[in-house]
Amino acid sequence: MYSIIFIVSILTLLLTLSIHRFLETKSRAPGASGAPSSGYFSWALRRVLFSVKRLKQSYQKWIIKRYKAGERWVFICLALTYGYLAASGFVFSLAGIRLQGVFLLLHMLLGGLFAVCLSLAVVFRARFYRFDTQPSASSRKRLSILLFWVFMASGCLLIATALCLMLPIFSLRTQLDIFAIHRYGALASLLSAISFISFSRVDDS
């Protein structure tokens, strides 16, 4: 059931975001040179190839320009740990195998690092994502603020549930429920992370 929800929700989100982007790009420069005059799929393919090609530029734009030198490592660590946690967690989950062995050990250890990085990230970035100080922000900006906090909240949920699973307090029945929350929290986190990247990237300054 979880696998189905996961696949459907991820695919739906990716499709929605890409179509939205496709339509937006098309409407923004309908006659310009290089504008997508062809169909959605060829545009999507080009975008993917383009993104891969400009990975270094994206890194410059996203990390180097965006964050101070002292803060930079926090976000790199956050991204890397999150990447591993999501990959290990979801791959095993989709394969119907319980996370085990070295993967589990790393999942736990990097989970701790992720918790630390997330805390620092929220300390460093929270002031930029306040609802109350940006009354005139665009709806896209407001959405990205919301997504930032959804990501933080789901991250907080993930940390809390991981902690609960380690405490000798909860019965097996409760643990199974907590574990389900952890998995759905992870899905929410991933969805919010993708959406946040998609929306904040456009307006990034």
């Binding site: 630390v116 109350d132 940390i159 380690m166």
Partner: protein, 778 residues
């Protein structure tokens, strides 16, 4: 007309005959719903289905087949778990093997008619049903292979003398304290098979021994009036008080079988503990009987109670009687919301134990058997170590050495605790095929090599019996005293402050003091001491009584040799080197043979007082003898003899030296354990994760070293994790990670608290703005 009536009568009679036989009288009797147990005041029947009248001369023992038959279908019962090992189509989870243990040859061979890994089929070893019943009937229930049909009997068997060993119904069902397992074992060992049930139930007194009767004797022959001393035909004297006027007997049938009955064959106790300190199963302590879980109907298909039994035996009902069935209930998805299982057994919370444990471990891992320690716990079991047979003689044995708990991954993929034993046996290898050899064959081939202790004990016992020596004759060797015991072997004790010496000194032990058997004297004295000479003569005369002596007994001391010639003590010159101490020798054709050879000295010193029964030197010598048999019998050159002990296979190399190597046949045999169940507070994990997950965890890293009857340094060495199929470095690392767990939890808590607080602030700020509170203040 009369003829016609007669003819019709005969035909009707013939048609009705099958229905009049005892087996055909039985009809399936569904339970009427009453929870009471019938009063079993019933007539006894013998094996010819004739009623037993205790007052008639020479009554036969009662037969369960016919006594119980009118109400209980024997043919159905004998298909039950306890009786059908040879015929079972479904073997289920491995159980405890029967262990053929022979101390002298160092044989510890696990046997089973079930197709279980590592256990040998008795038939492969050449053991017939007769042999098997004689070996293990002491702890068997009767029936099945012990009650073979004519076509199943082997030529050398003596079933016609002993009778069949019928199912011992009362062995389990009797509530009377008169039911004696020891009596059962005694009668089986006397070959009194058909009398065993009667004797064990206490209904009558059984005398005589079928084992002493000629093989031609038959039950129809009756008693032998000419021999009332030795070959006495077994007889039964019924307790007439037990019979009523209609010759009926009251069987005190237990509504629920008493645990004591089960424990006669299923006791398992830690070796070396005092009775009052022995652990008890928590369920038993709570008053639950064995049969409350291990149930059966008339089919006697006992519920074994393990996970997966429902699949093995294709019976979903048995699921309810497993650990999960009772404690979690049938519908596991309800996770205890439906209360719990049978009789409201406590639903376990398992607080803080990750769910993965329940997927990969059976309940017994944490709850059964002794708590894992660095050293495995040695246990003794009824069937393997011959427990629970009482009498003056000591029946129980130290071998086989069974240890627990060894955690092994089962067929289902789950890990469960097991008992483990290392096989030890002599065998022949034909190419890749391994053929164990019967101990009797080895004894025959090895001769004196394996009878060192017995041979020395026999000499000492002979001196004791046939001389008028005061005290117990002993042998002093390397600072230790070796004296004969009632088992025909030797006991060893320390000699005190005497310095160890490699020479054997013949001595006598009296009131705890050891002195030379012949006091110090001067053999060169001109006037010999008459007391000394008469003592020497007495001892030499007694030594002449030793069974199959290799020569004439003599005493050598310095340059003198004393021997008996035509009834007189004769002193001649010692043809060998002068002896420093007085010692006995055999004189064979003028040749001096030590009465205790250097080989015997080495073997005794190495083995007496130790658990082991073989030295490497003995193994080497026996293998040499076997290889000579091989070459003389012209067996194919790719045949090779070996001995297995302690997890390694010992063979001779081309130079005739002994070497050892691992071999699949030397691997340990394991079978799951279910009991003793410990209370939740004493289960693994009750004290936290570190009960198992630590760098030096006994659960994962306890040593499992090979043990066997061979005294050697060359044994298999393994660690607990290997039996689970787990990686040692990973488990070490994982265990180590628990050292930092408390700090890790603090970090997670701090992170969650920080992120959560900021989210809360943002929400509050947003709410403040939404409600206008923040704007107003500004």
């Amino acid at each position: 007309m009369k003829h016609k009536i007669l003819l019709v009568g005969i035909i009707l009679g013939l048609m009705a005959a099958p229905f009049l036989s005892p087996q055909a009288e039985q009809k399936p009797q569904p339970w009427d719903g009453s929870r009471t147990t019938a009063v079993h005041l019933i007539p006894l029947k013998d094996e010819f289905d004739q009623p037993i009248v205790p007052t008639v001369p020479n009554p036969l023992p009662y037969s369960t087949r016919y006594t119980c038959a009118p109400c209980h279908d024997y043919s159905v019962i004998e298909q039950g778990l306890h009786f059908s090992a040879t015929a079972a189509s479904q073997h289920g989870r491995p159980g405890e093997p029967w262990v053929l243990a022979d101390f002298q040859t160092g044989t510890v061979l696990p046997l089973s008619y079930h197709d279980w890994k590592g256990m040998w089929d008795p038939q492969e070893l050449g053991l017939t049903f007769w042999d098997f019943t004689l070996l293990f009937g002491r702890h068997m229930t009767g029936g099945g292979m012990s009650e073979p049909e004519i076509k199943e009997t082997s030529p050398e068997s003596r079933w016609n003398v002993s009778g069949r060993l019928e199912i011992n119904c009362m062995g389990c069902h009797n509530a009377s304290r008169m039911q004696s397992h020891s009596e059962w074992a005694k009668q089986v060992l006397r070959h009194n098979f058909r009398w065993a049930g009667t004797a064990a139930s206490g209904l009558g007194e059984v005398g005589g021994m079928a084992s002493r009767l000629p093989g031609t004797w038959d039950i129809y022959d009756g008693p032998n009036p000419d021999d009332t001393e030795w070959a006495v035909v077994p007889f039964v004297k019924y307790d007439r008080e037990s019979f009523d006027s209609k010759h009926r007997v009251f069987f005190d049938i237990a509504p629920k079988i008493e645990d004591q009955r089960c424990l006669a064959c299923h006791s398992v106790t830690q070796a070396g503990v005092k009775r009052y300190t022995a652990a008890e199963d928590i369920h038993s302590a709570a008053g639950i009987k064995c049969v409350d879980c291990h149930r059966n109907d008339v089919s006697h298909a006992m519920i074994r109670g393990y996970e997966g039994e429902d699949i093995d035996y294709q019976n979903s009902e048995v699921k309810e009687f497993s650990c999960q069935g009772c404690h979690l209930g049938r519908d596991l998805k309800k996770k205890g919301r439906n209360g719990s299982g049978r009789l409201g057994a406590p639903y376990p919370k398992h607080a803080g134990i990750p769910a993965v444990h329940f997927e990969r471990l059976s309940c017994t891992v944490c709850h059964s058997g002794p708590v894992p320690a660095r050293e495995m716990t040695q246990v003794r079991t009824s069937r393997a170590n011959r427990l629970g047979i009482y009498g003056v003689a000591q029946w129980s044995t130290a071998w086989p050495s069974i240890v627990e708990p060894v955690f092994v991954r089962e067929r289902s993929g789950k890990i469960s605790p097991h008992r483990l034993m290392w096989p030890a046996f002599w065998g022949r290898m034909e190419g890749e095929k391994i053929l164990p050899l019967e101990p009797s064959l080895i004894q025959q081939a090895a001769g004196y090599i394996l009878t060192v202790e017995e041979d020395v004990a026999r000499i000492l016992t002979t001196i004791s019996l046939y001389s008028e020596i005061e005290g117990i004759p002993v042998l002093v060797l390397s600072g230790k005293v070796y004296e004969p015991n009632v088992d025909g072997r030797l006991d060893v004790s320390s000699v005190g402050d005497e310095a160890p010496s490699g020479k054997a000194i013949w001595a006598v032990k009296q009131e705890g003091k050891v002195s030379p058997i012949i006091p110090e004297f001067d053999p060169d004295a001109e006037t010999p001491d008459p007391d000394i000479e008469s003592r020497i003569q007495m001892l030499l005369e007694s030594l002449a009584m030793v069974e199959n002596p290799p020569g004439r007994p003599a005493l050598i001391y310095r340059k003198a040799l004393y021997q008996i010639t035509e009834g007189y003590l004769e002193k001649v010159e010692n043809p060998e080197e002068p002896a420093e101490k007085a010692g006995f020798v055999w004189v064979q054709d003028g040749r001096i043979i030590p009465m205790v050879t250097d080989f015997q000295v080495r073997t005794m010193t190495a083995l007496v007082g130790y658990e082991q029964s073989l030295t490497e030197e003995q193994v080497k010598e026996v293998l040499k003898v076997l290889s000579q048999i091989k070459s003389s019998s012209g067996q194919s050159p790719n045949q090779d003899y070996f001995y297995i002990s302690g997890g390694r296979m010992f063979r001779l190399d081309a130079e005739g030296s002994l070497f050892s190597a691992p071999h699949p046949a030397a691997e340990p045999v394991v079978w799951p354990l279910g009991h003793q169940v410990r209370p939740a507070q004493q289960s693994l994990g009750a004290n936290g994760c570190k009960d198992c997950h630590s760098a030096g965890s006994a659960f994962f890293f306890a040593g499992v070293d090979g043990v066997g009857p061979l005294k050697t340094q060359s044994v298999a060495q393994s660690s607990a994790h290997a039996f689970m199929g787990l990686s040692k470095p990973y488990q070490k690392l994982f265990g180590l990670s628990f050292t930092g767990r408390p700090a890790f939890k603090v970090i997670l808590f701090a992170a969650a608290a920080l992120v959560g607080s900021l989210i809360l602030i943002i929400i509050l700020l947003a709410l403040g703005k939404l409600s206008g509170i923040i704007e107003k203040r500004r």
